[in-house]
């Protein structure tokens, strides 16, 4: 990423593209966006990485976190435009998801916290986090796919949320 930021190195960018494009594309598809739109959104995300590379600060966040937030914001914007609710006024969400400057924790500190949290979570909890918060599947859908009762999904999510609180001080 440094080479992209400093030298506008297109080869370096193509490496980022090769690694992230299929993962971002998969993220949109997992969020139930059709393949035509998912590729368009993937292009928008990686264009933003190229155009806004000067805004990325490696001390404040991991590169993957930064790309994730761009992809998530594109997803929000996409669902807003395709919403069944007829939004008369301009939706405000877009600006709410702009980068926060306040009380960001140091990247190194965040890394340690996540290691600790990951050690505490079992494999099923990690899968549930991914399904619920990354792929935004409903509790019902998670229960069906993992073949566990709905109540178990809910209580497992509750355990995760409690653990997060314990480990972030």
């Amino acid at each position: 990423m440094k080479r992209v930021q400093r030298d506008r190195d297109e080869m370096a960018f193509s490496e980022i593209f090769d690694f992230f494009a299929p993962k971002i594309n998969a993220y949109f598809i997992q969020n139930r966006i059709k393949i035509e739109s998912s590729e368009e959104l993937t292009q928008e995300v990686l264009s933003a990485v190229w155009v806004k590379s000067n805004l990325y600060d490696s001390k404040k966040s991991a590169f993957s976190t930064w790309i994730y937030t761009i992809a998530r914001n594109k997803k929000i914007d996409f669902f807003r435009k395709n919403s069944k609710i007829n939004f008369v006024e301009e939706d405000i969400r877009e600006f709410l998801y702009q980068d926060r400057e306040i009380d960001l924790i140091e990247e190194s500190e965040a890394k340690k916290q996540i290691e600790r949290i990951n050690n505490e979570l079992d494999e099923q909890q990690k899968i549930i986090i991914k399904m619920n918060f990354f792929e935004n599947k409903s509790h019902k859908k998670i229960a069906d796919e993992l073949e566990i009762p709905l109540g178990t999904v809910k209580s497992r999510i509750r355990q995760i949320l409690t653990k997060m609180q314990e480990f972030i001080k």
């Binding site: 299929p22 594309n25 993957s64 609710i85 306040i102 972030i168």
Partner: protein, 209 residues
């Protein structure tokens, strides 16, 4: 209802990008005012970023890296104000509506299923005992209030479900300004309860038009 869990759920849902506009505004303000909430939000975004790193690959068929370098994508909405000011403007200039003496509110016009309101209470003013049809979120923007469950100051959030009955009282010194979201109408009890219920009923009747 365990307060910590519902708070974290709000933060997680915000990081996941699945909240409607009203709750997004509340959550982003919460993260701005409350450093602990902000840290949890950061950490969670990082976890989701790691999910992205480890995600499966579905290769785009019609996309090359050069499309992203030459593609047009320069839209950037920079926003220096805090979310509440960006959305409402200067709070002193709002057309506040007095509900009763010392209690004013301003209902935002926002396209969402949830109702978004600003509430301003003068020092020492209380709200009659009430409970809620759906969840209620109250984020303190200025001053503080207390109720049967504790004291809430700037940056604190209280999330109430239908099982909670409470009587909030604004701080004697500062009063309070809060951002509130109600999922459904509030149900009042006590002396003025039936009158206030009638009032919210009539209000909701007109709102449907």
């Amino acid at each position: 209802m365990n307060g910590t869990i519902v708070k974290n759920e709000l933060i997680f849902d915000f990081a996941s990008g699945i909240l409607g506009p009203a709750k997004s505004l509340l959550a982003s303000t919460y993260l701005q005012l409350n450093s602990n909430a902000s840290k949890i939000g950061n950490t969670f975004e990082k976890m989701l970023g790691e999910n992205l790193m480890d995600n499966e690959n579905i290769y785009p068929k019609n996309l090359k890296y050069s499309d992203c370098i030459n593609g047009v994508n320069t839209k950037s909405a920079s926003n220096l104000n805090d979310p509440v000011t960006s959305f409402f403007g200067n709070l002193n200039n709002l057309n506040w509506k007095q509900v009763y003496k010392g209690f004013r509110e301003y209902t935002a016009s926002i396209d969402d299923y949830d109702e978004l309101k600003l509430i301003k209470m003068d020092p020492g003013v209380s709200v009659p005992l009430h409970s809620h049809g759906g969840k209620e979120y109250i984020l303190v923007l200025e001053g503080s209030f207390c109720d049967e469950y504790g004291e809430y100051s700037k940056g604190d959030i209280q999330i109430n479900d239908q099982n909670i009955k409470h009587t909030p009282i604004a701080s004697n010194k500062t009063g309070c300004v809060c951002l509130s979201i109600t999922e459904k109408e509030v149900i009042f009890f006590g002396r003025y309860g039936s009158f206030l219920n009638l009032f919210t009923f009539i209000k909701s009747f007109f709102k449907q038009k």
